[in-house]
Homo-oligomer: 505 residues x 4
């Protein structure tokens, strides 16, 4: 009888009939993950190198075999390692596949000692997520910087603010933009918490209990640039909160991006006409040739919905007892990969677009005072000048506004007499206010200037906020740099350790 | 003509026909939020007191009016303030409603100066979420402590671990329980990040731009026990990432709780029979009188799904431009209130149940070795004893396992001869292993002991993990205490400030 | 030893310690469903009566006991049966609870023969869903009728149609409203398919296999007004597609309602000013007294999101093997009950609001021609008059539109010369079109009239659509009546059968 | 100045700078949909042909141009039309792109007269969805047929049924399988309702109002094999309930498939050991060589979660006013395409797997009687033999079961004496039942046989259900055939009409 051991030259992996199983798989039953895992192939490659290094250093595999393996892995890098891995097949196991083909099973078959598909998958996800998170935080930081600069240019750009789609109060575009910055600041905090969780090495946890060989988990973690080791091996592989946390941090961020996109779409409508998005961000129609359609906000909104659907899917995938759900997770990985890619692209486009967009400042200013967004301050005036209770003032001005609409008058056209009419209707007596005070209360620029409370839209307050947001931004920028340095140091040590082993031969 | 100003005795709020609007609302158009907001009424009450204190201290309302307001608010507390608020109606505006009824509009109508429904709603949500988060973290901490104690008692309770529903490897119940602790640790980290975000006072932001009166936002924040002020007033009211973050942190936690619940349900089935959940946690059936149905895991699973659906709803509610979505958010608040309530109850039940559950240690032990969960270590033996490559050993043992099933043999019944048969089939030659070594490799207790790598299930490793988890737990317990102290200090200062004002009269 | 059998007077149900279980339940473990099931109590009551009738008729319980039970159930109806059931506790089992208290266990304890909590729950849900579906279809039918009438009044009310938020083409309000009717028609078709599925009686299926007693399932189905029996007893209780189908039909309907609500909100903004929603549908603000906030569209949007979240929850609840998920389904039932209640209320409000809303026809007309929504027809003109290919005409008019914007001209201000300029720029030669033809092409009323293709907005086409929509509406109205008659006949037969038994005594 | 009209040879589409817009698009702003639309390219091609035929027949374009266009479209078919379309770019507009390149703008530029990207997209989706739905119904029908056959072979294969994971009652594998058939029957009904809605032609609706040219919508509908025309043109393009309905019908179906997959996974565990899934459906592990992991149920569960997430995404995408959401819908199309593909593959695999799976009938039988799933019938015996009320019998047997567990006895080991003990404990007196009657009540085969009520598991009842399910299946098979014939007839007429035009030249 022919031995079952395969010829290395055409090694086809460990699931061959005659070993544990008697039949070959039906088509469509096994679904190679090479395609799905392509964005994480570099991380698999790193893990192959770090694991082989550790095995060799700890003497868990023969030194000469370890060195041969490391040499071969280095060889892969001469051309595109991802392509080579794709060609030899095997997805996560492409390293072993390649090594066995090249060095034979007796050498190449040693790479998988003390690890499993479980930690291969988790290490790859951790490295990938970690790297994407840093890229994302960097992108957000750039965006924050742009927004802060833009905000500084718009501390006196008056605009209406909307509540329930109605004119609410008057603010400035600068103040509005800082609300983006403020939200993005919290997004980065969430992403940093998430980073702390994925920046722990699951390597060595195998599928749940680790190995009976004395694997050095700290060494591998170090060589992969991780800050810590994920302690409990059961948890390291079979818990999924890290993935859910990542997906929900991305979804929350996207939810804000979608909201801002809706703002920009609405304001670029003919009816609002607050801003003009340059043509290079627009498409047109195959029949309605008049149309200028801003595209980036639509992409962002679509992808935000996709992220939310993806989060829901990830949550649903995980239902069931621990360890039951394994293959299903490929769907979750696809969702997370897609969300990162979309977000990085859409944030970049949005930043470009916001920076390039032209504001119609005059329209914004006129609109701010046209539909009584400044009404609150007429009530404030009554409180100050006539010592009325807020509620009394509020009701009188409510009547005034109604009268102005009934008579087809704009805010600036109302008079002290109309105010007296309202006041009399409400409490039986007039107020005799001076006309210039009423006009000042109606002035939208003064409206903003009067809001000099902490965090408000008054120009000097906005500038103070700018200063505070820049301080946090610097701290976050430093975080990215430190994190990147740690990774870089780890990976440098990995290469050095390989050099050291190879040279020691 | 009769003035529109209402008689205080039966004040019905600011939306009366004749002011801004001409018609009374149709039934079912206005939907009072008294019911929904009941769990947050205490926070509204606090805000009423803190806001009135600040207004008085800053001289924004007449001192005597401020004192009268504070006295009246204190009066409410003699009986159940929530009930009184419910009776006077008005939901978030129940304070004003009560004060106007009691003190007349000219005094009571001053409470709302410089704030809006916007900050009322947000302040209430922030206080409520903050308080619930602390309660939740405290509950999780208690749970972690129970689990750690339980784990210590089970460092040698052998059990099988499952992958894709199949026997994977051998571990201990202690090691498994620590995977819960590890996950809960990350949950607390997420909740703490979330806490940092909700523990910032939106008070004074009104609806988006704050007030034209020089409101002291820091003072109010301090009196409400907040650590910081949420800077940008636009962001403070109209961003919703804080709510989404809370909801997703709860959902992620619940997702793990649901998974563990599924473990317990499965293991309490007749087929698994790993554990016995005491009768006090069980129901039975109206016809199938033989049934003992554990209830808590089912409740937890249902509520976990509800939380996920609630998260989805919150995400969907927020679609659209900034400020458009206001009333819709009541649905989101309901979801978040419900998720907190369920989680606190379900975690408490689960803790009681897990602690009270009896393990069938003998069954667990037998089952651990019955379906080849220890197979990996036979391959490890071949690597060690015969210097085989891992992959070679893996394939040989794969054949061995198949042979054992084909011949109806249990793992402990296989012999060195069968191993030789497998080895010969694979690579054309036998291995001649000693029987006692094979038996030792098959021993499930030794399996666990051999896994003494960092984070593994070997008893001494589990004990070390216990020590590390207790350290983090202490830090988290301290966090709760510090946070509670800060809140307590703020609220104490609030009462002292009110005393001071009242006494100064 | 005291027998365990309880005194009837204070019967507390079948789960007492000492029977199958040894301990009383901990608080919060059993969670009575009385509150949740209140909207379905009438259905439980009907099932109790029909089941007892069948048991008596078939001789499965002693005739005199059956009659005593039926008499007692009839007695409950003298006051509010739901209240009585609530008081005796027991939720779904309140019938038995009441009967045992009243008639003793030896008589009252016979009601549950041959059924289980399983069919109690499913029968109640089927009856409830069936009844709510008919109510909903009736509500939608009323709405369709209102919309069709309204549409007839607006066949010449010109308005712009939007694509990607930009002016797309010109249509009429009548044509737009018929798009609602068309969608609602499909909603009714979906609800009718759903009705067919829930209108099958699960009664007698017990928990999955029915009973060892010769229960007459067809008889009970008949007496409850069902059209058919749900055949396979396993499927009747343990499949959940009926619930998911109901929930998704409601969600899809709500999704359209939310979209239309967004239309109305947008169009009632100051910038659009297309319509005025009467004050009785509006609220105002506690500080921004100028605000008129339409409430019903916001409620609808919130509830639509809740339905979507509820659907997601129902889908998640059902994960896991058949029969595992039972108590969790209470959450699903809550979601479905809430969705029906909200939808019925919100559709009613929306119908009232749409009917009462005043259109600003002049604004709509002006706006329709102001931003080149009619551009397409200038290209059509070129195709007709100059035999140009569509694409050529499209590009020339594209240039024309751009020129008009660059020069600050309105559509009606462009001239044949500008068209020649555009044409020359595109293809090197002018078109020499007559000015009056260009003006006609630009006329928005003519735009609509020219669209006399089937289904288009030309007035006579809209009238034809109206006729067709009314035809379908009649068929759907007839469906409701027939369905209601069938139910009524069944329930009448039930009362007659009870009369017959009681009188035969 | 150079005319802007492009050289046909390298035509790049209608969005060139200098027409409506002044700048070329930035990279990543326009995102070609060629890739996404590939599965629908054949439908675009059909629409191109049908539209050109109608334009020519109606004399809306010059006859010779129409014929040239049709010839060219036919030419595309000589090689792979999809590939050619992909190469010329343009996605949905690949037809025009190709025709202009081949015939010049003056001829090829005529194809788009009277239609828009709107109806291109919708027609393609309708044709695609219609075709996929028929394919899916056919696949389900095949599955139903297999299941019915399998069920017939298992009418006496006794097995336990589970409720809340506990042994509930006894049934047969045949009865269980018919619950699948019953559910699938409803799925087909839902898909047929959905089919009715997508089988209406939106062609000619352009973007919302159709064309000013007298387009014959009925002719195009006929030539594309549609049964009807979607009346209202606004609705035809801008409503999205059809898409949501499709997505939710697929999700509901998948939800059941996931549940059944969980059954199979659970039952193939070592603890249950109810069935053996052949090796060709299984994978193994890279370290746990003992594992036999069934793959198809995991794929199905993952894809079911993906469908649910996709549904959620589609619902979220659609938030906002009518017509705002256009590009976002690409995400929805991707989800629907993916759900169809997965479902068709997974249903096929599942059918193969279920058919090939070996049942361990002896285990199933033994297990059915081992944990008191037959207890109900002991109570039934007491009702029959001793005229006890059901509740009394139920409680006595509850005590009996408890006693048996406390004494470590199997059901078959209990005696009339123990029953008397239970009876005495409950009501103070014994029952004196004959032993052989008790044994018969405990017999699981008799349990099933006794359930001969309509829809129950008794063998003859299952056979009757089989007959009824086959009748419905035939009707559904006929539906598919009729539907396919209608499509075929339409497409045949299209080719004949083209032949006729070309030959008439």
């Amino acid at each position: 009888m022919q031995p079952l051991q395969q010829e290395p030259t055409n090694y086809r992996g460990f699931r061959q009939p005659g070993i544990r199983l008697t039949e070959p798989m039906l088509p469509n039953v096994g679904r190679p993950d090479s395609d799905l895992e392509r964005p994480r192939m570099y991380a698999i490659h790193l893990f192959d190198k770090a694991h082989a290094t550790m095995l060799t250093e700890c003497g868990l595999i023969p030194r000469e075999d370890g060195i041969a393996i490391l040499r071969a892995l280095r060889d892969m890098e001469r051309s595109d390692a991802d392509d080579i891995r794709f060609e030899v097949g095997g997805g996560m196991h492409s390293g072993e596949q390649y090594l066995i083909r090249k060095l034979g099973e007796s050498v190449g078959g040693r790479i998988h000692l003390g690890r499993s598909s479980g930690d291969l998958g988790e290490v790859a996800m951790s490295i990938f997520t970690r790297d994407q998170l840093l890229k994302l935080i960097r992108t957000i930081n750039d965006f924050r910087l742009s927004l802060v600069s833009l905000a500084k240019n718009h501390i006196t750009t008056i605009m209406p603010g909307y509540i329930m789609g109605q004119h609410g109060q008057v603010t400035t575009f600068g103040h509005y933009l800082l609300s983006w910055v403020s939200t993005l600041e919290r997004d980065v905090e969430r992403l940093r918490t998430c980073y702390r969780h994925v920046n722990r090495s699951p390597a060595g946890a195998a599928m749940m209990t680790g190995s009976d060989f004395p694997i050095d988990r700290h060494r591998v973690a170090k060589l992969l640039g991780f800050s810590e080791v994920e302690k409990n091996t059961f948890d390291a592989i079979l818990s999924r909160d890290r993935l859910l946390e990542t997906m929900s941090a991305l979804t929350i961020l996207y939810s804000s991006v979608a909201r801002w996109s809706d703002d920009l779409l609405l304001w670029s409508s003919s009816e609002f006409a607050f801003l003009e998005i340059p043509d290079r961000f627009c498409g047109t129609s195959s029949i309605m040739m008049q149309k200028r359609n801003p595209y980036p906000p639509q992409w962002a909104k679509g992808a935000a919905a996709e992220a939310a659907g993806g989060l829901m899917m990830c949550l649903m995938v995980e239902r069931g007892p621990t360890g039951l759900v394994i293959l299903e997770r490929r769907y979750s990985r696809r969702a997370i990969t897609s969300a990162f890619t979309s977000l990085l692209g859409d944030l970049d486009l949005l930043q470009q677009m916001v920076t390039a967009t032209k504001l119609n400042a005059a329209t914004l200013h006129d609109r701010a005072g046209e539909y009584w967004a400044q009404a609150t301050d007429v009530a404030g005036l009554l409180v100050r000048e006539r010592a009325l209770a807020w509620r009394t003032a509020h009701q009188i001005v409510g009547i005034l506004v109604r009268l102005s609409y009934e008579r087809g008058l704009r805010p600036y056209q109302v008079t002290p007499e109309m105010l007296d009419e309202a006041s009399t209707a409400y409490m039986g007596r007039p107020l005799h206010l001076e006309a210039h005070k009423l006009q000042e209360a109606l002035d939208v620029t003064r409206f903003v200037e009067r809001r000099s409370l902490y965090g408000g839209p008054a120009p000097e307050q906005v500038l103070q906020q700018v200063a505070e947001y820049i301080a946090t931004l610097s701290a976050d920028a430093e975080f990215v740099e430190t994190a990147e340095r740690t990774i870089h140091d780890g990976l440098t040590e990995l290469e050095r350790a390989i050099d050291h082993l190879i040279q020691s031969e």
